[in-house]
């Protein structure tokens, strides 16, 4: 399958390991990964902060870069960016775009997937040949869970990982308190939510807290780092990309990517 990889601005700039792992994983599964180099950002931050005019060029850019019919699917290692494309690009196009843009957006929306739903729903695989002999807990990010409805898909992928010790996160479906600019505008409330999430992560005794969104992991990882916690954060793609021949190397003094 010819897959357009959307790195997301956060992944490209701050969390390249997660995107690298996504590319490596898809290549390992035998797919043709293309990276339209003009890609930048989906505009989620703008829309969620109340700005719908400003991201119009970003919405148009996304539709143009991934609209080519030769790209059969657009995949990104982010539930919230996939949610932005699928649920918000249409709102922006409807309000400020023209008929051509609305058609372009509709076309690209229909083939846009977050990584875990692409693997399970489109490729029909849960066993991806991964090997990760560590204790892991999974945080289902809000937009993956309630906007995209990925449900158990990430957990099915994780359960199939060789060597993994997957432990359930208490109150897993509670928001970590990130919420984009919420974490800055309402820093106190955000912090109160994060404290509870960190407590639940700590209770699992996991070496790794994983999720399908680098933004939420940046938040949780930033809190774990401040506490000098022994738990690190890793994107789901990094676990799935790890194999027996090229395993992810956990160094004892190594911080999570989120606290590099």
């Amino acid at each position: 399958m010819r897959i357009g990889l959307f790195a997301t601005c956060l992944g490209d700039t701050l969390f390249p390991e997660a995107v690298r792992s996504t590319a490596v994983l898809l290549a390992r599964l035998g797919h043709d990964v293309v990276f339209p180099p003009e890609q930048t950002c989906c505009g989620q931050m703008h829309v969620n902060t109340g700005y719908q005019r400003e991201p119009l060029p970003l919405v148009r850019g996304f539709a143009e870069q991934f609209g080519d019919a030769s790209i059969e699917a657009v995949v990104m290692p982010s539930g919230s960016c996939a949610g932005s494309v699928r649920h918000q690009h249409g709102i922006v196009a409807e309000r400020y775009g023209d008929a051509a843009l609305r058609a372009g957006v509709a076309g690209v929306q229909a083939k846009t997937y977050e990584l875990s739903e692409f693997l399970v729903d489109v490729l029909g695989v849960t066993e991806v040949g991964a090997y990760f002999p560590h204790r892991v807990t999974y945080h289902p990010t809000c937009h993956s869970l309630r906007m995209l409805r990925v449900g158990e898909k990430p957990l099915r992928l994780l359960r199939a990982v060789d060597g993994i010790d997957l432990v359930e996160l208490p109150e897993a479906d509670a928001c970590c308190g990130f919420g984009g600019t919420f974490a800055v505008k309402n820093a106190d409330t955000s912090t109160a939510m994060l404290q509870d999430k960190l407590g639940n992560v700590a209770a699992t005794g996991a070496e790794v807290c994983t999720a399908g969104d680098s933004s939420c992991l940046m938040h949780i990882g930033g809190g774990l780092s401040r506490l000098r916690s022994g738990t690190r954060t890793l994107h789901l793609a990094q676990i799935l990309a790890s194999t027996r021949s090229t395993p992810y190397v956990m160094q004892t003094d190594q911080l999570s990517e989120a606290a590099r």
Partner: protein, 562 residues
Amino acid sequence: MSSTFLGMPAAPPRSPYGTGNLRGERKFPAAAHDELRDEQLRRNLGKATRTIRGKRLDVTAELPDWERLRDAGSAIKTDTMNRLPELLQELERKVTEHGGTVHWARDGVEANEIVTRLVQETGSDEVIKVKSMATQEIGLNEHLTSRGITAYETDLAELIVQLADDKPSHILVPAIHRNREEIREIFRAAIPGVDPELDSVPAHLAAAARAYLREKFMTTQVAVSGANFGIAETGTLSVVESEGNGRMCLTLPRTLITVMGIEKVLPRYQDLEVFLQLLPRSSTGERMNPYTSMWTGVTPGDGPQEFHLVLLDNGRTAALADEVGRDALNCIRCSACLNVCPVYERAGGHAYGSTYPGPIGAVLTPQLAGMHAAKDDPNSSLPYASTLCGACFDACPVKIDIPSLLVELRHQHTEQSGTTAEKLAMKAAAQVMKRPRLYTAAQKAAGAGRVVAGRDGRISHLPPPFAGWTDSRDIPAPPKQTFRAWLASAEGAAELRAAAEEGARKPGHDGEQVGPGRNGTHVSPGRDAEQVGPGRDGTHVSPGHDGEHVSPGRDDEDGDQG
């Protein structure tokens, strides 16, 4: 010759600024900052919301048709809003036919005046009250007090709030922020003749309130209520409650005055079939609420002999005029969204500054009262009091998409705010992000952020407005290499090639390869490895650019990378 006005009508009015209880004194972040310090409040809220959450999940999961009930509730409400004027006129006609009197109140000021006049006409200087959001919204009690009329709240939690001269903090459980010790102190200080030895055993507290209230029920001749539903088809009003105080108020006095928001009308009597299932299960987590009272006008010799219905607008028509925002009018005040909201659970109801707190309050309050009625209007902060986690949407019995409404109201806020520092920053960010060359340059500039990080790669202090982040969280130093730089590097190409080869060695992973001859040369198992090297023309294809082959290696000149 008379002229006919054919232009657009003026926008419907919001609730007048400075009236009622639809606006706090401070913005949400400042109010929440103080509330968050109250450890007792957080413990009470955490315990109470957790308990109600669990009960609600139990009683909604047991119904096989719960999702269809939600769909039905949503459809009936949407239908109602689409023909609100005719339904309200039908309701007025039916109530009048059955001996009631209908009054129309444009806003809270008018409603307060109407109720005051009606009470004065009875000659009474006291009223007993059924818990009511609408009368709380318009500040009726305070208004009555100013006119020499005493209003007695008869719902136990409302009584606690009233005796403490406090404000409700939850739609359903107004005293959720109080624990039993606090309630004992409130009762000992404020209930006349209460046993000074009163302890904090819940049954004893309830008995003290009961003794106090029973005397009010037996002696007061006027009651004021809200309404959960008003049936247009029959003129029937309905109140659902748990304590029986409502039934007392609705049946014992000679005069009953009901204040109902115009969005509470339902088309048909049969619609109650849906809402009397949705409401208690979503609200208290009960299969059925203990008391459901319904009355139609007046019945000679039975119950109140005088009935007045005050239909309250107070910004509802303004909300109805907003094609996105109007969905908030579908709310049936169950408070399920409050109980699942992680922001409400931490900050509490008072932080919202409105009679309507929580997620629904954050979308309803700015629509009823506006969010730009004053400079730095506190209501303008409400749409931002959410992480957009979506738990409220899942819990809502009438499927109000609260996260989308919040995003819409944020948009309306920025559209009406003129030029702000944030808007300039957002415009600047979009300008950079729409130009890939500027964007990659900005990525390199971000890479310079490494210099402010500590030796361990953490950034622990940032200046405002980002200091709120680093007060409790580190931020990673930007990595040495962006993804696109890695992709364009020899290392990236080698890693992808190795992955493809590893996959090709395993059976079952080779079914969907793209054969040679396709446009461009992509990472593809079994292909000549030489073709995957970086810096070669045509390594990757950028669609939408006339098939022009673009190599991500074009940024390779950057010395920071690799």
